[in-house]
């Protein structure tokens, strides 16, 4: 038995300096990470960033070229997928088309040695069908089911085996928007109920943000940042993360002053920005290139003649476009010298003030706490 440390330190999955090469392509590059037991963990990144390869290294479909992969503290390098205590939900579900729902879900149990009895298998399949709210669908052929139902069969087929860890490869990509929203909530609830580790691979930042406890953002086979959704959103370590997670306005410039936690940036047009430096980011040097990131919902939009707080950064501009989105409005403001800026204005403040139309001259402003100064990569 491997030594067990305190509860919060228990790890289900660990990568130590894992590299995976396919011929000349490096899919995963010297990656180290750990996933705590019971976490909902996501790999997030664009296609080709190595996130799916990482998942396949855990599942055992691929073996690392270098480094070590641990499941529950045991190295699994060289162990084939059918001997690993993890199960996967495939992107296109990969349900067996020549079997009905019951046989699909019971497949994993039937491969076990010793094989559980027939009654035991039937009982557990029924329980699992109930868990994914598909009671009574056992005799259906899998192609008769809707996308959402197939998705739940795929989940049931994996979860019935009580894996150490459930792997999900873009599980919601094939569903329509509304169903995707529902399944996000369902997956989250399911994860809390069964209490096992879920590892999700997705390119959809909204999906990752809404479901995960922790997210690992990848690019070109490397981890850029790992953190809670809130950490990634509020303190992205670089421009790539800030751009990938949520929407952001960027202002480029040179660092002209630095304190312990803040930085001052002067843009090409002479505009001075002050913002904080996120924790964990590479330290900026005076004179280096940097960018200031401001989330659109942190920017206030006012008529030009309104008085504003002096400590705020304030830029004048003209409304180019307004999109009414129900609970808020999205403005695109062309500023003088700072490019186009996106502003999200909630309904509540709009009703207090007034809404603007394209052509209106406005002033946009934000406090220094709303701005982040990050490396320009």
């Amino acid at each position: 038995m491997p030594k067990q440390s305190s509860d919060s330190q228990e790890l289900d999955i660990e990568f130590r300096n894992v590299t995976k090469r396919f011929e000349n392509v490096v899919a995963v590059d010297d990656m180290s990470l750990s996933v705590e037991r019971g976490a909902f963990f996501s790999f997030l990144g664009p296609s080709g960033c190595g996130k799916t390869t990482s998942l396949r290294l855990i599942a055992g479909f691929d073996q690392p070229s270098e480094g070590d992969v641990f499941i529950s503290g045991k190295s699994v390098v060289g162990i084939p997928s059918h001997k690993r205590p993890v199960n996967m939900v495939f992107q296109q579900y990969a349900l067996f088309p020549h079997m009905d729902v019951t046989d699909n879900i019971g497949y994993g149990l039937r491969q076990r040695n010793p094989k559980p009895g027939k009654q035991e298998i039937i009982k557990r399949v029924d329980e699992t069908l109930e868990m994914v709210r598909l009671s009574g669908y056992g005799k259906r052929r899998v192609w008769e089911l809707s996308g959402g139902q197939q998705q739940r069969v795929a989940l049931a087929r994996a979860l019935i085996n009580h894996p150490t860890c459930l792997l999900l490869d873009e599980p919601l990509a094939a569903l329509d928007r509304k169903l995707r929203r529902e399944m996000q909530i369902e997956l989250q609830t399911l994860q809390r109920d069964v209490g096992i580790t879920f590892i999700l691979v997705t390119h959809d930042q909204e999906e990752a943000l809404s479901m995960s406890d922790r997210i690992c953002i990848m690019r070109e086979g490397q981890i850029i940042q790992t953190g809670s959704p809130r950490e990634l959103y509020d303190e992205p370590v670089d421009r790539y993360v800030a751009d990938f997670v949520g929407r952001t306005n960027f202002f480029d410039g040179d660092v002209i002053d630095i304190t312990a936690s803040t930085a001052t940036v002067k843009s090409m047009s002479g505009q001075i920005f002050v913002g904080s430096q996120p924790k964990g980011a590479t330290a900026l040097a005076k004179g280096s290139k940097a960018c200031v990131a401001v989330r659109p919902e942190m920017i206030a939009i006012k008529a030009v003649n309104d008085a504003s707080h002096s400590s705020n950064i304030s830029i004048n501009g003209q409304v180019m476009n307004r999109i009414f989105l129900g609970e808020h409005s999205e403005y695109l403001v062309a500023t003088e010298g700072c490019g186009d800026v996106m502003v999200l204005s909630p309904r509540s403040t709009e009703s207090m003030n007034r809404s603007f139309v394209p052509g209106d001259h406005v002033s946009i402003s934000w406090g220094p706490e709303a701005a982040l100064v990050i490396g320009n990569t």
């Binding site: 084939p80 997928s81 059918h82 993890v86 020549h98 497949y107």
Partner: protein, 270 residues
């Protein structure tokens, strides 16, 4: 253009239609129609030579179908793992072997086998103990079956490979992920996915071998298959009996081919 097409179809199907029509002819001669009768079918079926030739053809066709579907499937599965130049080489060789005319296969197999037999028979005779009669290798069932299988195996390989290519690779990974060993994955997932192609290959091989005349003519030795029997009897003049046999072979072949086509079309839905 339309007239041209009609002419082509007439040219193709009228002779076949005439064979079928005259097989039901009550008259004795192939030239005049004298009412409907199934007497020639009765005659053909009760002719012991036809019966023997039919059994010979069945044995050959059945062996060919079994051998080529087994070996063809195994080869298709193995070829699936090849990459690069060897893959292209084997793919090319397989397609070429389907395109080689039957007469070339027939002559080549005959020459090759005769050479091998001429080399082996004296060796066998000298190695055999005194007093007992040494076995003598000669043309027969084995040589026809081998020559047919050579050709039909490629058909099976092509069919099964197409099916494997259309199969979702994730199914195999899903099975491995759900604790199935590679062997169990093969017969629980891969085989059920590709069996329509294997079965279609089996039926096509059977039909090919059953209908083949050219290759059999060269390498069958003393064995008379049904097409060889028909060829031999035609030399004594076309009798309505031959028409009846031809019609039966035609119907059986069509049924098998349509079944194969149906199996290939059938999709396990996804």
């Amino acid at each position: 253009m339309r007239i041209y097409a009609i002419a082509v179809f007439l040219f193709l199907y009228v002779p076949i239609g005439i064979i079928v029509l005259f097989s039901f002819n009550a008259g004795r001669h192939a030239s005049e129609l004298k009412g409907f009768s199934i007497q020639w079918y009765d005659k053909a079926l009760s002719n012991p030579f036809v019966g023997d030739a039919f059994v010979t053809s069945l044995i050959v066709a059945f062996s060919v179908a079994i051998l080529s579907s087994l070996m063809g499937t195994a080869a298709a599965l193995a070829l699936q793992r090849l990459k690069g130049t060897p893959k292209m080489l084997f793919d090319g060789l397989i397609y070429v072997s389907v395109m080689i005319p039957g007469i070339v296969i027939g002559i080549a197999t005959l020459v090759a086998l005769v050479t091998v037999f001429d080399f082996l028979n004296p060796l066998l005779a000298s190695a055999w103990p005194e007093g007992s009669k040494p076995p003598k290798l000669h043309m027969g069932y084995a040589s026809v079956i081998a020559a047919h299988t050579l050709f039909t195996m490629s058909l099976v390989i092509i069919l099964v490979r197409a099916r494997i290519a259309g199969m979702d690779r994730a199914l195999i990974e899903a099975s491995m992920d759900l604790y199935a060993t590679p062997w169990r994955t093969f017969y629980q997932v891969t085989l059920p996915q590709i069996y329509p192609a294997i079965l279609a290959g089996f039926l096509l091989s059977f039909t090919f071998s059953f209908d083949d005349f050219i290759i059999s003519f060269f390498v069958a030795g003393a064995n008379t298959t049904l097409p060889i029997y028909i060829f031999a009897s035609i030399r004594r003049g076309i009798t309505p009996e031959v028409n009846a046999i031809g019609t039966m072979v035609l119907v059986a072949s069509l049924v098998l081919l349509l079944t194969a086509q149906f199996l290939l079309r059938k999709r396990t839905q996804r």
